[in-house]
Amino acid sequence: MPTPPSDLHLQDKRWETIDRVMRRHDFRQDALIETLHAAQDAFGYLDADTLRHIAARLKTPPSKVYGVVTFYNHFKTKPKGEHTLVVCTGTACHVKGNDRVLAWMEEHYQLKPGDTTTDNRISLLEVRCVGACALAPVVIADGSIIAKKSLAESTAMIREWLNDAA
């Protein structure tokens, strides 16, 4: 049996939005992915309590909920850092050198895609192609697109953006 969510959790107003999504689908099991989207939009990521609550509300085994969450790249089970750097790994971006941007991030910040720095400042994510291929290579810093830059320019901008001259 799933553990009931803590009271603290339910007091959060954001749960109303998530419950509304489930209600719109009459709490049918096929509402799972839509609900997970709503929950991740609200909380930034999906923690165990959230997943247990959704599983209980949709009368779906937690194992199935976890299976769905881990199947889809979009769903994150860990919180993100204060800033997010998304590197597009689509073909056009690859051909134009984004693999080297990732290598540079690993070398200078010890970050692999999916990682967050220990001080919780920066999260590095990769995305399978944002569809802005004519702007390749594309890096997205906190939602703004850095486009058509060389490796040196990209890394300089990332550095500047991270306010880190080191």
Partner: protein, 540 residues
């Protein structure tokens, strides 16, 4: 007044409003033209400062195609394009209206990028405001759907779509008319319609662009299809990575409902059709139709064995019509202009036009629409302007991770489902990535195989294990550790994965390897542990 007359009046009123302005400034507001909102603001401010609000209209528009030189601004009625516009250019652009265009920003009027294209699906892209249904109505939008639903019978529509020769634009090229007829004939009280907008091929953005530029054209195509096959509920499964497309679709659905083009009693008839959005969650395999259906049902996106096909047993076990974005966007045109008009374009087996996302090492990267049968050379060197920085063309990759790399000696091949397949590639959904002499083919192939390996859903062994094994063999080539045995194993394994995988992902995953082994074999041989040694291929 009938619904039909009301829509006509609405269209005429909008046209009158638009006609009252002497000049229109259309600003591309697609994902590819950054800071377009600031340009729109700057232009409006400039126009207000000069008191020209009654003469000049600034409009948000869809993608104009030449993303490499964006942000683009189109001046009408002059049909002048300005490139790489910044908000600071607003004053100069407004001052030049009705006079000589701003030379500094002007795109040559005879640029092959525009003159060689034949825009049909993209005809309204960049010409209307995607967030305003009246703009679409004024351009003749929804006339086909209204006509189909109020004055045509479903069999008549099925016949027209069948005769047009339209084939699925998602990549596989299955005849659309045949698919529709199967769903129409399938037994079952409830039928569903799905629009596959899970454009997962990296390097492809045709569907994103169509959804962002003319979302109503996709809805109109779905509406006609639903009426023809007898479906009353439709789903658009769209990537979560396309927030702007999602936003515009949501708005378009709301506006269509408000105008009784969707919902209960469409156009005052007894036909009901509702459309809901479903967001993808970053799984490439969900582009496969049965995996997509699993995902709409709220599960992991693992494909089902076929048959039964979705046309007979699809969403929740009901007959389901599933077509791609571009396929639906072709439908209103075919209904308006007829099957013969459509069939007159293209080649014997591949009719109509196709939208491609032309990217990579190419001068004029962007979105293009060309008639089937045009050669790759024309697309790459004329429309695309060739390779920049003095580099040499090496290959063009079509069909994404499921496609192949086509070398220079086949540049004169015409674009069609058959000819691309004969070259060991596929049409695919329309991604076209150009590579030059700086690209290392083994590295590119390893990139695609890593993609397929990570995106394999894990349901069938050949794909789950095979892609990982192929990837590790490719890694050996990259590390110059490969032997002649590895090369032989690579070929055997590719054949095995291709022939025994459950779905299209695994069946086509070896294509990039096979096509490069065919055309760029030397690059593999050069990366063997001892290329000059006794174990060289052919000497065993």
């Amino acid at each position: 007044m009938t619904q039909r007359e009301a829509l006509q009046q609405q269209a005429e009123q909008r046209q009158q409003v638009l006609d009252a302005f002497s000049h229109h400034l259309l600003v591309c507001a697609g994902l590819g033209c950054l800071h377009n909102d600031e340009i729109i603001k700057a232009l409006r401010k400039e126009i207000a400062a000069q008191g020209l609000e009654q003469q000049i209209l600034v409009r948000k528009a869809g993608c104009m195609g030449l993303c490499a030189l964006g942000p683009l601004v189109l001046v009408l009625p002059d049909a002048v394009y300005y490139q790489t516009v910044t908000p600071q250019d607003a004053g100069e652009i407004v001052a030049a209206l009705g006079k000589e265009p701003v030379q500094r920003l002007l795109l040559p009027a005879d640029l092959p990028f525009f003159s060689k294209q034949q825009k049909k699906v993209l005809a309204l892209s960049g010409r209307i405001d995607p967030e305003n249904i009246d703009d679409y109505l004024a351009a003749g939008g929804y006339a086909s759907a209204v006509n189909a639903i109020t004055a045509m019978s479903p069999p008549e529509i099925l016949r027209i779509v069948g005769e047009s020769g339209l084939r699925g634009r998602g990549g596989a090229g299955y005849p659309t008319g045949l698919k529709w007829a199967t769903v129409a004939q399938a037994a079952g009280e409830r039928k569903y319609l799905i629009c596959n907008a899970d454009e997962g091929d990296p390097g492809a953005f045709m569907d994103r662009s169509v959804l962002e530029s003319t979302p109503h054209a996709v809805l109109e195509g779905m509406l006609i299809a639903a009426y023809a096959v007898g479906a009353h509920t439709g789903f658009i499964y769209v990537r979560a990575e396309y927030p702007l497309a999602v936003k515009r679709l949501q708005l378009a659905i709301r506006e269509a409902e408000r105008n009784r083009l969707l919902g209960q009693g469409v156009c005052g008839t007894s036909f009901d059709f509702t459309v809901q959005l479903r967001l993808g969650a970053g799984a490439f395999v969900c582009g496969e139709e049965t995996a997509l259906i699993e995902s709409i049902e709220g599960r992991r996106g693992t494909p089902r064995p076929k048959p039964p096909y979705p046309a007979e047993n699809g969403l929740w076990g009901s007959p389901t019509l599933i077509n791609n974005v571009e396929t639906y966007a072709n439908i209103p045109l075919i209904i308006a202009r007829g099957a013969a008009w459509f069939a007159a374009q293209g080649t014997e087996q591949s009719k109509g036009t196709k939208v491609f996302a032309l990217t990579g090492r190419i001068k004029h990267a962007g979105l293009v629409e060309v008639p089937m049968g045009m050669t790759l050379r024309e697309i790459v060197f004329e429309i695309g302007g060739g390779i920049p920085d003095g580099h040499a063309f090496k290959a063009v990759q079509t069909g994404g991770p499921s496609g192949g790399c086509i070398p220079a000696e086949h540049l004169d091949a015409p674009i069609s489902y058959e000819s691309l397949s004969a070259l060991g590639s596929i049409m695919g959904s329309g991604g076209m990535i150009v590579m030059d002499d700086t690209s290392n083919m083994v590295d590119i192939v390893k990139y695609f195989m890593e993609f397929c390996m990570e995106e394999s859903c894990g349901k069938c062994v050949p794909c789950r294990v095979g892609t990982a094994q192929i990837h590790s063999l490719l890694q050996k080539f990259c590390d110059r550790q490969a032997s002649a045995d590895d090369l032989a194993a690579l070929e055997t394994l590719c054949d095995l994965v291709k022939t025994t995988s459950l779905c299209g992902l695994g069946q086509s995953a070896p294509n990039p390897v096979l096509s490069t082994l065919k055309y760029f074999r030397q690059e593999y041989l050069d990366r063997m542990a001892d290329p000059s040694g006794p174990h060289q291929e052919g000497q065993l």
